[in-house]
């Protein structure tokens, strides 16, 4: 018989494999009012409520959990390439950001307490900042202060994440969303099979698919059935008018090949409209180094808000930070220039061929108060990730 500890470890491993954050579903406040992870079965033995809950979250039959069945737990891993690709992408992403493997990164962070980066050296960037300010001074007078020094200097920059399978990753993610959409509308008209219910619930978990009007919470199968009379009364046609995918943008646009497939990029933006803005900002930081600074002889100012702020929280007289982008050198850009040119085309205005943000079906979709009141009146409320 499988022990409770084995089941606990099994569940944690499965959730990690599917990139499902354990703490979102199983956490509680401790005596210090801090949110900490808790066991799936807090009583130390299997109980029906938590067993049904974990089965719903993972889209498993009970025997998979009770037997800690690794083979059956791979059902979604085998069906959807997304999960295998996402595991690879997570590692690549970490390495690209920290320049080390995750294990090495943890060791370096423990020793040095900060990100260890060799590519962009402070003194070199500071010198280029001065040159940029001097150059722009001819267009914007007094930008450069010849008798002052740069203070509070900081800089940030980005690099591409080298993941060649990004197109497959995005395609497979879109596949998840399309399947969730298909099953969501199928619930409206037909009974789902047990396998389809499991699949739908699992996809709801992975996508963080919630009621757009918020009151309904996670749109698991039983919740959709509960909300169905309201959905039918609302009468919208689009999936996006009912379902909000709260799973964050996993930033595939940080990969150079993302921009190769415009149609796929458009499908991605249809799911994560805010990604277009993120792409734009990312392109700026690929091409440039974002520098913050003050001049030693800058005027001290007092924010207007200080007058209304309690004394202990006032900022007081200070020299406001200024920001400017300093172009990267050709050596720093390397092959990135070709890729960033393509990527920035995606972020351009639609009139210049950029991605088009999806339009809301009707103003009533965003009338949250009436929609929430309908749910409250019907006695529907958000349960524990329910």
């Amino acid at each position: 018989m499988t022990t409770i500890n084995t089941i606990q470890k099994f569940i944690e491993a499965v959730m990690d494999r599917y990139s499902i954050p354990y703490g979102v579903f199983f956490s509680e406040y401790n005596s210090d009012d801090q949110l900490v992870k808790r066991k799936v079965f807090p009583q130390g033995k299997i109980d029906d409520y938590n067993l049904n809950r974990i089965c719903r979250i993972l889209g498993f039959d009970q025997d998979v959990i009770l037997n800690a069945d690794k083979d059956k737990a791979n059902i979604w891993f085998n069906k959807y390439p997304y999960f295998r690709l996402m595991l690879q992408y997570r590692t690549t992403n970490y390495y690209a950001e920290y320049g080390t493997s995750p294990a090495e990164g943890r060791l370096l962070s423990a020793i040095f307490g900060k990100k260890f980066c060799k590519k962009y050296l402070d003194e070199d960037i500071k010198q280029r900042l001065l040159e940029t300010l001097k150059r722009y001074d001819s267009v914007i007078p007094h930008l450069y202060h010849p008798d002052a020094t740069i203070e509070r200097f900081m800089h940030s920059e980005q690099d591409f994440v080298p993941f060649d399978q990004v197109e497959l990753l995005v395609q497979s993610f879109v596949q998840l969303v399309e399947r969730h959409k298909e099953l969501f509308f199928k619930i409206w008209h037909l009974d789902l099979t047990k396998e389809e219910i499991n699949e739908y619930n699992f996809l709801t978990t992975v996508l963080d698919a919630e009621d757009l009007a918020k009151a309904g919470g996670y749109l698991y199968h039983h919740k959709v059935l509960e909300l169905l009379p309201i959905f039918k009364k609302e009468g919208f046609e689009k999936y996006e008018s009912y379902v909000k995918i709260c799973k964050g943008d996993f930033k595939p646009w940080k990969c150079p090949r993302f921009a190769d497939n415009f149609d796929l990029a458009q499908q991605y933006i249809n799911i994560f409209p805010r990604a277009k803005e993120n792409i734009r900002e990312f392109c700026m930081q690929i091409r440039n180094i974002h520098c913050g600074y003050t001049w030693s002889d800058d005027e001290y100012v007092i924010d207007e808000d200080d007058a209304w702020t309690p004394e202990e929280f006032r900022i007081g007289p200070h020299q406001p930070l200024k920001f400017i982008y300093v172009p990267k050198t050709e050596a720093e850009l390397g092959d990135d220039l070709t890729f960033v040119e393509k990527l920035s085309c995606l972020a351009a205005p639609p009139a210049q061929g950029g991605l088009v943000l999806p339009q809301i079906e009707s103003p009533q979709v965003m009338s949250f108060m009436p929609r929430m009141m309908d749910r409250v009146s019907a006695g529907i409320k958000k349960g524990e990730n329910d």
Binding site: Y136, V139, I140, P141, H142, L143, K276, E277, R280, E281, C283, M284, R287, N288, H290, P320, K322, F323, I324, Y325, S344, A347, A348, P349, P350, A351, Q352, G354, L357
Partner: protein
């Protein structure tokens, strides 16, 4: 911070670029995205931050310096 005269020129350039690429300021505000009040403030009172202008120049695919050119 950019001096007032230059920031106003930059704001006027933004107004022109929005007109060339969008049917309305609301459409630009939705797409960029930017709060519509901020768009209005930039156009009427000028853009004082250099990195903001650099970002807009990149977005509209125009040289940064054109934000400070007067007709």
């Amino acid at each position: 911070m950019i001096e007032k005269a230059f920031s106003l020129v930059a704001g006027e350039k933004l107004r022109q670029l929005i007109k060339d690429n969008y049917s309305s300021q609301e459409e630009f505000a939705f797409d960029y995205p930017m709060d519509l009040r901020t768009v209005s403030r930039y156009i009427n009172n000028g853009i004082t931050k250099i990195d903001t202008i650099q970002e807009l120049a990149e977005f509209f695919k125009v040289p940064f310096i054109t934000f400070f050119e007067t007709k």
